[in-house]
């Protein structure tokens, strides 16, 4: 049986009944791993209480953070400060320059090109990308038809580019309440119709996010010193 993950669930801060509903629904939808995503500056007590709510429903919880840097220096400073505190780090790229830097930095797990308008800027960002590209289903369930059609076009472009540049993709819900949560297989089927091969779309809701979480948990626990380097302690003779 496949293990599914949604690594972009944004629980509303201090809204515990809504968080309870989200956790209950995530379990019903067949999710095993949930990545709770917080904006920077949220109190650690709030993060812990949200984790507790989701864990009480039998879900494996990973905690992530979204970074919105305005320039390269800010990006590097925030990565240095936050990388060792969270299991998932996503950079939302406001311009091409930041996207290029973020995509080549090993400390970044996910990048979002939602704010990149042109095909060329997306291509330059994904050209030598080491992190995975995150595609959120919440972009498609926008209230207006115009916004939805624009998102549809942008997502199709991102799928084509990710395939061309051999970049891993992660499909997530970007849910902020129970109504915006979506089942993993269902999300994968939407992206299959947008041009993603079926096996890739299923991998994007299972293996790829799970590998990111595993690698970061190893790194945070001190078992790993980086990509492909595992720390082994030997007993003194």
């Amino acid at each position: 049986m496949k293990t599914f993950a949604d690594i972009n669930v944004k629980p509303p801060i201090k809204e515990y009944p809504i968080q309870e509903q989200m956790a209950k629904m995530a379990g019903q939808m067949g999710l095993h791993v949930v990545g709770l995503r917080f904006p920077s500056g949220v109190a650690s007590s709030e993060i812990e209480s949200s984790k507790k709510i989701f864990r009480s429903r039998g879900l494996d919880v990973a905690v992530g953070i979204d970074i919105f840097p305005n320039n390269r220096k800010q990006l590097l400073t925030q990565l240095g400060a936050l990388r060792n505190k969270f299991e998932i780090v996503r950079v939302i790229c406001s311009d091409t320059r930041i996207a290029e830097v973020a995509s080549r930095d090993n400390r970044v797990d996910l990048i979002s090109l939602e704010h990149q308008r042109s095909f060329r800027s997306k291509l330059s960002a994904l050209g030598n990308c080491k992190s995975a590209l995150e595609l959120e289903i919440s972009r498609l369930i926008a209230p207006s038809l115009k916004a939805r059609s624009e998102s549809l076009k942008a997502l199709c472009e991102e799928i084509i580019l990710a395939e061309r540049c051999n970049v891993d993709t992660v499909i997530s819900s970007g849910a902020t309440n129970a109504i915006t949560l979506r089942a993993p297989r269902d999300m994968a089927s939407v992206f299959t119709f947008l041009g993603m091969p079926k096996d890739v779309s299923l991998k994007a809701v299972s293996n790829t996010p799970l590998e990111i979480i595993k690698a970061n948990r190893d790194r945070l626990s001190g078992k790993s010193a980086g990509c492909g380097v595992r720390l082994v302690r030997l007993k003194p003779q």
Binding site: Q28, R185, S189, T192
Partner: protein
């Protein structure tokens, strides 16, 4: 499929919501190819059994995912199980 909605809705409301989303996403031709219908509807459980052409099952799943409103109220829907026969489906879900 299971539908999560704060207010009550009828089978007709569900069909109408699904056809709106299907038309927006796949166009009229795509919608007609799916040829789906509601076979069973359980308002108390918020569940429905839908039947469609076998080659359109994924299309119906995608339509379900993009459903945001039923009867004018915010809603979400997800596929609990898909199966070739209703007998196998009821056996797998444990519902009659």
């Amino acid at each position: 499929m299971r539908i999560v909605c704060d207010s009550n809705f009828s089978e007709r409301d569900l069909m109408s919501a699904l056809s709106d989303v299907g038309r927006d996403f796949f166009g009229l031709a795509g919608l007609s190819q799916m040829s789906y219908r509601v076979v069973r509807f359980y308002l108390n459980r918020g569940e429905a059994v839908l039947k469609c052409r076998m080659d359109s099952a994924e299309k119906l799943r995608a339509t379900t995912t993009l459903l945001t409103h039923v009867a004018g109220q915010p809603a979400a829907a997800f596929v609990v199980r898909s199966s070739g026969t209703i007998k196998a489906l009821t056996k797998a879900t444990g519902h009659q």
